[in-house]
Symmetry: D2
Subunit: 271 residues, 4 copies
């Protein structure tokens, strides 16, 4: 359970709920006295939901079924987070978690926090003994990131810094890093200093120009190996009784994922 | 750091190392006295590696560069695990982690453990306070799964059961479930009983026939909502100095991912 | 050159032109006296375009560059055709042309003409000695198809029939067939009678349910072999000076293409 | 019917046949006296096939069904052509046909003929009044291309030239062009001179580096507009009675398709 998400099975005041009618009509709400959920499929009075079990089905004012779901991380990512910047999608975040081996106890560096979407997933995964160090140069984004982390009570696992990573990283002994800035070639030295020996970093790159430029820079730098690059597609399948088929619309591109591990620049070995 | 993976920065006897020459020549080895790494790019005596720092570069007997990397979860998944069955790929596992909100402390149900590939990723993510309950009906697979978990010292977070999930699940209050068996429609009742209210399950489905059959069964069952389905593609990008391009060969299909959350079957609400 | 498209290099009254400002601002127009092209990037008086060479660049009233292009088949498909029904996309049409070996002189059967989008491409490819026989049961669609074919002067190569193909096909000795109806399993006998021995047919199938049902029916029918199925994705790459990348939005699905060739149902051979 | 392919319905000596057992066991053969087809599913004496109808089913020496199919263009592309170079795939060729509006009567320029795979498809589509002009600088490829075209009796519609297109194209008034060489930026002037006003060209580009370099060159050249780029994926669906699913292996990449139309370099218009 993500810390800020309800630990209860019963809907309470100031708790959150996902009201789910169908894929297009689902909303993440905080329950407050006198509040209303309204949709083209009818309304619900939030007061009426208090005391109900998560998982319950209720009827809207138009007699349409609505389910009351306990919010999960994915709901928060899809419905609840305040975004100002472009975010890394769940399909990419998932692969990044596995590629980096993100797990409880790790010390993670994030360069380019934006509004904290990735930070939330990282922080939730390294709890309670790990830590995320997040660098961001735009103060207004950092404030939103802070708010998002506090809403999920994940802020204690994160240190956000208003600082330009190109000028250096304060931390060392970092287990893994996520870099999501437009000019990642400018942080290779900072990154190399911060990472543990043979620790991995992932770079999120929207354009082909960035792949070419970063690959050239990483090669020239010589302090990284096991360099890989890939992209992930997610295709939704629409389910209805007589017609199961892939969705007509699809996100065709988010970004490329490049991966590399820190090594010594020069042969240092007796072997 | 995954528990069974080295906590050290220095290569030691009985520790593990990834010897990386290039994308096709990389191997996960345990360091033992008198051992040898051999490849078409030359050999290495393992004794010579002891005492070196992870991240070091050495020369093979043919004077080719080889890097010594500290094994990560992804190395273990790609190079180290003993597989007997078809496994869920990192691209799918990653999305499953995010869709289910897998995080420290959760109680996870896995129906269809196979040889434990998915179990490892789940166990590593819910440490130290969570637990994975894994069901499998083929004893020979369960034994391999147990060995794989022990190798990574993750077995303490997992209870493996030689038991047919179609006949019921012993646990209740499960936070999230992964179902990877050929006939998931036969475990819907067991699954519904085991899950917490509004908790999610993911089904891994190789064929279109299974999507159609499971979707029909889930609909008839009525105890699930927020039913979605998708598939994930991963395309590798080949990096070389004058030629960056997607890989010619690609895994075109692993399986579809269906997702659903447990709800009350009947309206139980005053609203 | 498609017959109805201009044979001239000079823009004339009653001729057509594509006015191209950028990918989003391009329009296929007929030149008529006193006409105007208007856009958020400025207007053009059509009278001013008469006498200009195709390929010319002019300035709109807002001093923006606009190119005057001679319409091609692809412009007609993308910009010019009147559509009432869902059409087969260029990416799918192209593969269908190659799979069926569509070429000058062939006799083609089309079951499910719709508004004639596919018919245009087929007719344009079998000219001048081939012929397309098109079946459609909805009269209003057939009228639009006829108008579309006449606009491109392709109608002489096509016979459109308001007739239910399930009740039989009048023609025999057909070289290749395209079937785009919701229930293709109901025309297998008609199709088998119409095709030449070993001639191919392509079925366009939007849903997984249709694949499963048609494959079962074709197997039961026994009169077809070399049965294949595939799907085609097209991903656009956005080009701009510092940022080349795949388009964020993409058509995720149009339909599956199934392919089969007519054979004798029973062993008839001395071999 | 492609000219060199059989016009008959009966298998004859010196004619061709596709012997089809299953997707993996299919072969395009010429029937000669005393010849044999042999496979791990049994053999056939070719003399026994003479006189049979195309579409017939026969039994191999191991009593396995084999179908006798009349070869189509797609069989020739997949099974019959002699290839020395990398070829453009049917999925890409199909889209190129539609993008360029290839049709009977057109004059087509092909820069980079290779061994004539694309040439065959173009020649077959512009018959009988159109013509393909093919440029290639490697004599040994040109000889194979010539042989391939003669085998299909398409050579009368094609003029092959052992000539470097970078030094100029002899023809003008070209309706459409296909460019498949490593350095297409070096033929932009030649191409611009050869094409009709507003006529289209397609460039086949395996790498991202080529996209970036060609796009920059086309922009600098200023003589082209409606510049687009895309890539096409083809995913095969495996059909078997209880298991319909996309193929595990897939061609992940062949090349990017860039498209542009010739325009005047400078404003030449009174408008």
């Amino acid at each position: 359970m993500t810390p800020g998400l309800s630990k209860n099975d019963i809907i309470e005041y100031n708790g959150s709920v996902v009201i789910y009618i169908d894929r297009r009509r689902r909303r993440l709400l905080r329950i407050h006295r006198g509040g209303t959920f309204s949709s083209d499929r009818g309304n619900l009075k939030l007061d009426d939901l208090v005391g109900l079990n998560y998982g319950s089905k209720v009827k809207t004012s138009l007699n349409i079924d609505a389910w009351l779901l306990k919010p999960l991380l994915i709901d928060y990512l899809e419905l609840g987070i305040r975004r100002v910047t472009q975010v890394i999608y769940p399909k990419d975040l998932g692969l990044i978690l596995v590629l980096l081996g993100i797990a409880p106890g790790l010390r993670i560096l994030e360069i380019g926090v934006g509004t904290g979407n990735t930070t939330i997933v990282l922080a939730n995964s390294i709890r309670p003994d790990g830590h995320v160090y997040g660098y961001e140069i735009r103060e207004e984004f950092l404030r939103v990131a802070q708010t998002n982390l506090e809403a999920l009570k994940l802020n204690q696992y994160v240190t956000l810094k208003l600082k330009d990573a190109r000028e250096g990283i304060d931390e060392t002994d970092i287990d893994a890093a996520v870099v999501d800035i437009p000019d990642p070639w400018n942080v290779l030295d900072s990154l190399h200093n911060a990472l543990k020996w043979s620790a991995p970093a992932v770079f999120f790159l929207p354009t082909m120009n960035q792949i070419l430029k970063l690959f050239e820079a990483v090669n020239r730098h010589r302090g990284f190996t096991d360099i890989r690059c890939c992209e992930v597609f997610l295709r939704e399948i629409e389910l209805s009784s007589e017609s199961v088929k892939p969705s007509t619309t699809m996100v065709g591109h988010t970004g490329y994922i490049m991966y590399a591990r820190k090594v010594f620049k020069y042969s240092n070995a007796k072997a």
